[in-house]
């Protein structure tokens, strides 16, 4: 029963990851790509971590997986923020040049 549930979560996680990657490759500009990448991947990572936590044998392993997800969250949030910030600044510079 748990196995089936975990499998569903895994497949769902992979689906979100896949969607995020497609978004990264196909969407038109930086902001959209960031949007797709971070949101979809965070969810995908959560589902995969959850699936692995269900399959794991100890509480320690499960909490480590939670930690992994949280770290992923921190990393993607900050990097998305910084990239967006940089893109905005670059835009402003470009506009200032009268482009």
């Amino acid at each position: 029963m748990i196995d089936v549930f975990a499998l569903v979560l895994l497949i769902g996680g992979c689906g979100f990851m896949f969607a995020g990657t497609v978004g990264l490759l196909r969407l038109p500009d930086v902001y959209c790509r960031l949007h797709a990448q971070t949101k979809a991947d965070n969810l995908g990572l959560l589902l995969i971590c959850a699936a692995l936590a269900l399959l794991s044998e100890s509480l320690l392993a499960a909490s480590l997986l939670l930690l992994i997800w949280l770290l992923g969250l921190v990393a993607s949030t900050v990097s998305a923020h910084l990239i967006a910030r940089h893109a905005r600044a670059a835009e402003r510079v470009d506009r200032g040049k009268g482009r």
């Binding site: 770290l71 921190v74 949030t77 900050v78 923020h81 910084l82 910030r85």
Partner: protein, 313 residues
Amino acid sequence: MIGTLAVDLLLVSILIGLAWQVVRGRVLFRAIVFFVAFGLIMAMIWGRLGVPDLALAEAAIGAGLTGALMLGAFRRLVEIDARQAVSGGLRPSPRLSLLLSLLAGLLVAVLGLAGLELRGGSGEAGRAALDSLHLTGLGNPVSAVLLLFRGLDTVFEMLVLLGAFLGARHVAERDRRSGAAIASHRLPMVGALQMTVVPLALVVALHLLRAGANDPGGAFQAGAVLAAGGVLLTLTGRVVPQAQAGLLTRFSLIFGTLMLAGSGIVPLIYGGVLMAPPGKTAIYAIEAAMMVSIGVTLSLLFSASAGLRAVRS
């Protein structure tokens, strides 16, 4: 069986594809990023081959720190002269070099297969290491080899790191950058990142250090994680490069080597054996000292400076 083969094939093809991108990608910056990805795939391959110690080292040192060092150097080039920094990319029409590299690849393939044929040796030293493991009090044979059986290698490996730092410092010394790093640690998001990641890096490093005695991990991996924290602090301008190093910094550069070599020499005073194995507590102390040295040296290598000073926020 088919499943693992599929995983192997997938890893290998990604590895080769990334290597190709590192070499042939048009944009230098991207080539570096691809190299980091290459390192991560290498780490997965080490894991796949059943050597988690190397997986950790590759991820932390081979991919993480080498990548950070390369990106840092790249940024410095761009700061000096953005246009020249990326000029002189690839030679055009590399037909001859393709042929040569094909030959080199074939040669290595033949060598590699010959090497596979040759093995079947007993692995005498490896067997001896596993047999003597119980004498050391350690559970991880790789740590035992690094610290005890082949401790002298590790002493000189630490000296290589020190030499690289001294050399880098010497050439960078007359090269004080004009602008300091952007103090991005004042941005709320980056500040929050620091508050989370730096303490966590410390915790992870200590965990790796403690685990190294019996499980995958050890001073090198821990030191690299510690250095990652140092790199983050440097990048965000939380610490700034200094032209002169205080006694504490200089001491931490050699702390690990001093402890490792010192523990090897001290027995001589009592008429003992050179590089005799220390007790388990001493091993932890030595490893901790090595972690500090590795972390400090790698952080300083990244900032290419003699020392670092914290900036009050």
